[in-house]
């Protein structure tokens, strides 16, 4: 090789290396920040950690609220071709009109939702269309597999899984999970490298005190009652009188939480705790208990109610049927207004008020559901001349069905005012128990003796001659009380002669109660009395529930065992 060539070659090599060196300076020093950011953007992918709400179970571990992974369809308005053909294809795959799809795709912008949480089959159909400018994103959809069952307890969530009602709202901070971001590598082909971290975080699970079986029985019977009596509304609550655990709670009208947006507000209302009504004769428990506690009366004290009416503050209050001379037991059994008012007058307004408050009237039960109202009973200084007569028979006082049930539970459990609740446990997503309901307060409100005596009296209501005979259950004794109350007409501001609230509240088996139950039927048509409208609903629910809970009949002290051996 001659020298000249050698020099040229060397010069080229040196310049080439110099060029590479310069390029390296450019890449590694001058444009380092920009290029490394670009590389990071290309190689590192950030994704949201999917935050999923915890599940809700009944007391036996049966699923009441779960999450499904569904795909949501989005579009990139700047990329998508808005021609008719594409949109028509998309609309037909989604089963919608093309105009509806057009309205969802804006003319400009980088992102717009077309449809959230598609059915898997619809998503598949759309994917097959291969339309440019549309994409899918995984989202969790809250589902309630039992439909309407326990809808007023469970509540519901919005389209972004934000809690809106019921347990979902009350326990939102436990159910929801916090997401965050996850970073992982990907290559030029878009293939991702495993980050080795779970891309999903779950909230805590909640176990309710509700039993799906009992809830199902209650839902079925309340539906039947609504149809039979063409009522405007109805509520039923079943509670363990010793622990305050709500075993079932149903209202009508109701809604399907899977589709809550399509229902009106009054259908989503948990009227068991949000609506007030005048309790009527079921309130006679207050006067009865107060009279026994204050030793103003005994079970066999006689009251002459033969006049059929009594004057209170210039107003005559009458019995539905005329009676002769009744014992205190019979006053309750036959639900005599006159007898009750006579006892109430003996007690005086302060004592009636004191025992009403002791039994929880006018205060929230502190149930762990949103929207509870406290109800009201005026303090004695605000009572009118007729108030003592009206309040004694359950007028001029406003309660929720749950408050009345709680008061009767105090009779059932020997004198304690329990705290109703629907959540028994909160369990972490790993299965560790975080919280368990424990109400340490033992709030005795009446003596055991009074509770026992009044329990015997309430049994009489269901016996022959009592107002609640149709609540009796074959094989087990029921203790309870009927109630029929007029509703105030919002136009005339007077008691309506057509609109009533019929109720029955009690517990069974009377001497060793397994559950306390209240049935309230609003504005029944054809019949108005609690003993006719609500008591049979109580009977049907109680009978099936006793069978479901496998509680033996008291009139059949033997159970048959089929003993099988291998």
């Amino acid at each position: 090789m001659n020298k000249k060539r050698w020099i040229i070659l060397n010069t080229i090599i040196i310049f080439s290396f110099f060029a590479v060196f310069l390029r390296l300076i450019d890449l590694m020093i001058l444009n380092h920040k920009l290029l490394s950011a670009k590389a990071k953007q290309q190689h590192i992918k950030a994704e949201d950690i999917q935050a999923r709400r915890g599940a809700i179970f009944d007391r036996q571990g049966r699923e009441l609220a779960l999450n499904l992974e569904l795909e949501s369809l989005y579009c990139e308005p700047e990329v998508i071709n808005r021609d008719d053909k594409n949109i028509k294809k998309l609309a037909s795959a989604m089963g919608k009109e093309p105009e509806v799809i057009f309205t969802k795709i804006p003319a400009s912008g980088k992102f717009a939702w077309v449809e959230r949480k598609l059915e898997p089959s619809v998503a598949e159909r759309i994917r097959e269309l291969n339309i440019k400018g549309i994409g899918f994103m995984n989202e969790a959809k809250r589902i309630y597999p039992k439909g309407r069952l326990a809808s007023h307890i469970l509540g519901f969530v919005g389209v972004d899984n934000q809690a809106l009602e019921g347990i979902e709202l009350q326990y939102d901070r436990y159910l929801k999970a916090r997401g965050g971001k996850i970073f992982f590598g990907r290559d030029a082909g878009g293939r991702t490298l495993s980050p080795g971290i779970d891309k999903e975080v779950k909230g805590n699970n909640i176990v309710l005190t509700i039993d799906e079986g009992l809830q199902g029985i209650v839902e079925k019977e309340i539906e039947k009652a609504m149809l039979k009596w063409k009522a405007s509304a109805a509520s039923v609550i079943m509670m363990d009188p010793f622990t305050g655990e709500i075993l079932a709670l149903a209202n009508r009208p109701s809604h399907n939480p899977n589709d809550a947006g399509n229902y009106r507000d009054f259908e989503k209302k948990n009227r068991s705790i949000t609506d007030l009504y005048e309790p009527g004769s079921t309130f006679k428990i207050v006067v009865g208990v107060a009279a026994l506690e204050e030793k103003i009366t005994g079970p066999d004290t006689l009251y002459d109610v033969s006049q059929g009416g009594i004057e209170v503050g210039g107003k005559i209050i009458r019995d539905v049927h005329k009676h002769g001379v009744l014992t205190f037991k019979e006053v309750i059994q036959k639900s005599s207004n006159v007898g009750s008012i006579m006892i109430g007058m003996k007690l005086g307004k302060e004592k009636i008020y004191k025992y009403a408050r002791l039994l929880g009237v006018g205060e929230k039960t502190r149930i762990d559901l949103p929207g509870e109202v406290s109800g009201w009973i005026h303090p004695p200084e605000r009572w009118s001349a007729t108030s003592i007569g009206a309040i004694t028979i359950g007028q001029e006082v406003a309660v929720t069905p749950l408050q009345i049930l709680r008061a009767y539970s105090a009779i059932a459990n020997g004198g304690f005012l329990v705290r109703p609740h629907v959540v028994s446990e909160i369990i972490s997503s790993e299965g560790q128990m975080l919280f368990s309901f424990a109400d340490k307060e033992k709030n005795r409100v009446i003596s055991q003796k009074t509770a026992k005596t009044f329990r015997q009296i309430l049994k009489g209501v269901v016996w022959e001659g009592g107002t609640g005979g149709s609540a009796s259950v074959k094989g087990n004794e029921v203790a309870g009380k009927t109630g029929t109350a007029q509703i105030i007409d919002p136009i005339t501001k007077r008691y309506s002669k057509q609109k009533y609230v019929s109720s029955f509240v009690g517990f069974v088996p009377a001497d060793n109660p397994r559950f306390a139950l209240i049935v309230v039927v609003y504005e029944p048509k054809g019949q108005i009395y609690g003993g006719v409208v609500a008591a049979p609903v109580f009977r049907d629910i109680a009978d099936k529930s006793l069978s479901y809970l496998d509680i033996p009949r008291e009139d059949n002290p033997y159970e048959t065992l089929l003993v099988v051996s291998r």
Partner: protein
């Protein structure tokens, strides 16, 4: 005077290329290891995708199962198609397996409720 044997010379001569070869092997080994790790990461990533799909499917099946096992669904199918009714508690027979008895025998017993 230090005497270096001939065999020592050969060793020192072979040591250098051996080191170079070893270094090269180590280099290739590292690259091979790194590429294997990456392949494994791709595989894991694919498996994770499959797992996510399966979990998605599982959630759907769970929801379906819960719906099918609902009180309403069971009651409507049993009472409608098969005429099942809520049992009268007198007619309920409790089935109990007895341990340590002869095989394949069954007997009806009446037991006092709450008794021993």
């Amino acid at each position: 005077m230090i005497r270096i044997s001939r065999s020592g010379n050969i060793m020192s001569l072979m040591l250098k290329p051996l080191c170079i070869v070893l270094l090269l092997f180590a280099q290739f080994g590292l690259v091979w290891l790194k590429s294997n790790v990456t392949t494994l990461e791709y595989n894991i990533s694919n498996l994770e995708k499959k797992k996510a799909e399966c979990l998605k499917e599982r959630k759907i099946l769970f929801a379906e199962k819960a719906g099918l096992q609902s009180f309403e669904s069971i009651e409507s199918s049993l009472s409608g198609d098969y005429g099942f009714v809520f049992p009268d508690r007198v007619k309920v027979i409790h089935v109990k397996r007895q341990k340590g008895s002869l095989p394949y025998k069954a007997s009806l017993e009446r037991r006092q409720v709450g008794g021993p």
